[in-house]
């Protein structure tokens, strides 16, 4: 009989979620702009692109384990492709061009710009940390750059752990916004590059 989540179950869920998030952080997040750009080419609105991405992350979040996935980015593309096809079918107005774009994504090779994109957003994120309010910036720097635990930070700065957690919350929001801005910019830049390429051909 289950009585809500036992401490053991909570730990297991916590560990599983964290393993998946670390994997996504390493394998997917740096390339998210590529996936989004590919989605944008099938004429989805930015809101729809957001939702397809969210749904794709849902699929990954619900996997018991990600250990069996040998090719993470290809896996991500395959999930988003299925979700996208389903969505286009539901919209009924099937843009043929859009479908053919979906079939051709594997022809893409990452350009130097794309490879640089994750680097750029990382620097952007560091800049964002630099612009955080003083107290929050201290906490986020110690946590993310020095790798201290929230508990250690609390002792060091003479704050309660709850207060540290609250500053981390602010930091998480700022970093989340930084990523999504960087992605949007990279998306635009890439789309611009596409158009230029098309003309020169």
């Amino acid at each position: 009989m289950r009585e809500g989540a036992t401490p053991g179950e909570a730990d297991q869920e916590f560990a599983r979620r964290r393993r998946t998030a670390l994997w996504v952080a390493r394998e997917i997040v740096p390339h998210e702009a590529r996936v989004r750009r590919w989605l944008a080419r099938s004429r989805l609105s930015p809101e729809d692109v957001d939702e397809v991405m969210q749904e794709a992350y849902c699929r990954i979040a619900m996997l018991p384990s990600v250990d069996h996935i040998d090719r993470p980015l290809a896996y991500m593309f395959s999930i988003t492709r299925n979700l996208l096809l389903r969505r286009l079918k539901r919209q009924q107005v099937v843009v043929l061009e859009a479908v053919s774009e979906i079939e051709t994504w594997q022809d893409e090779t990452p350009s130097p710009e794309e490879q640089a994109a994750s680097r750029i957003s990382y620097e952007r994120v560091l800049a964002i940390i630099g612009r955080l309010p003083e107290r929050c910036r201290r906490v986020v720097e110690l946590r993310k750059i020095e790798g201290w635990s929230q508990k250690e930070i609390a002792v060091h700065l003479g704050m309660t752990e709850k207060a540290v957690e609250k500053q981390v919350w602010t930091g998480v929001r700022a970093i989340r916004d930084a990523w999504s801005q960087a992605e949007a910019q990279s998306e635009n830049r890439m789309l611009g590059a596409d158009l230029r390429e098309a003309r020169s051909w």
Binding site: A25, P30, W179
Partner: protein, 322 residues
Amino acid sequence: MVTRIDDQARDDAARFVARMDADDWTGADEAELQAWLAADPLRQGLLLQVQAQWLALTPEAEAAAPVAPPVTAVEEEAEPASTGWGRRGVLAGMAASAALAFVGLRWSQTPAAYATRLGEIRRLPLPDGSVMTMNSGSELTVTMAARTREVQLAQGEAWFEVAKDAKRPFVVAAGNVRVRAVGTAFSVRRRETGVEILVTEGIVETWADGDQNLRMKLEAGDRAMLSAHAVIDYETGISSSVDRALAWRGGMIDLNGRTLYDAADEFNRYNQRQIIIADPRIAREEFDGLFRVNDPEGFAEAVKASLGVSLDTSNPNLIRIE
């Protein structure tokens, strides 16, 4: 379609990520998070995305820091040490482009993953014309290849109506138990004690990978329970009880002389609000009736009326039968 992920949800996700970033995740935190996640399926994805963005910032620091979760020791895999952000990105990009070309050639074999949330029962048509119905809290992957149709059941239960195709056997794997059908209907459920198979139509063959002695044929109306090394239970000619056990396909729980303990367990498979039987003496009482899976309250009221027990419903997450 209305975008359901609003600023409030984004802030909540960030708050949970900050909470998880501390070192003292508790059962209460987990329960709160589960309740939040249950309100909208997209939240799972949102949470993962925000957590990953937070972790992506300094993977090196994360790998070096002690990452053992708080209460009991759960194995956390060591993250491979990385030499630097930019370089890793480039290497990953190169590996990925090779992967993309590879996968492009064999789309049809890419496994598709499906999962149902607590209380969700989902009917899904498969590309080969088969239909699968997934019960609450189940996870599986489907791989359709030229010569085989394969389902890996990681958790939970599903009922399969298999389209006839003699050239492509349909195999369900649950742990090392295998169930094979050509054109038939059957369900497979992973339970704590083993894998339960119910056949509603035709014939299936079942065995354990690596143990030929366990190979057996099951017909419509049969039920078998297999573990990795033994047939734990086998009943034949029990069509009506097989149908009752599969009442969940219509969103119902059919209790036919099941004990109160079993019945509560059954409801707890589908609902956030868990039933607890506080008095072990009544747990073995047998009970009859047909209930909706999402109505644990209705069930508890019926128990109260027929067994004269009292209910404590003060906690929205629990129903205590005392």
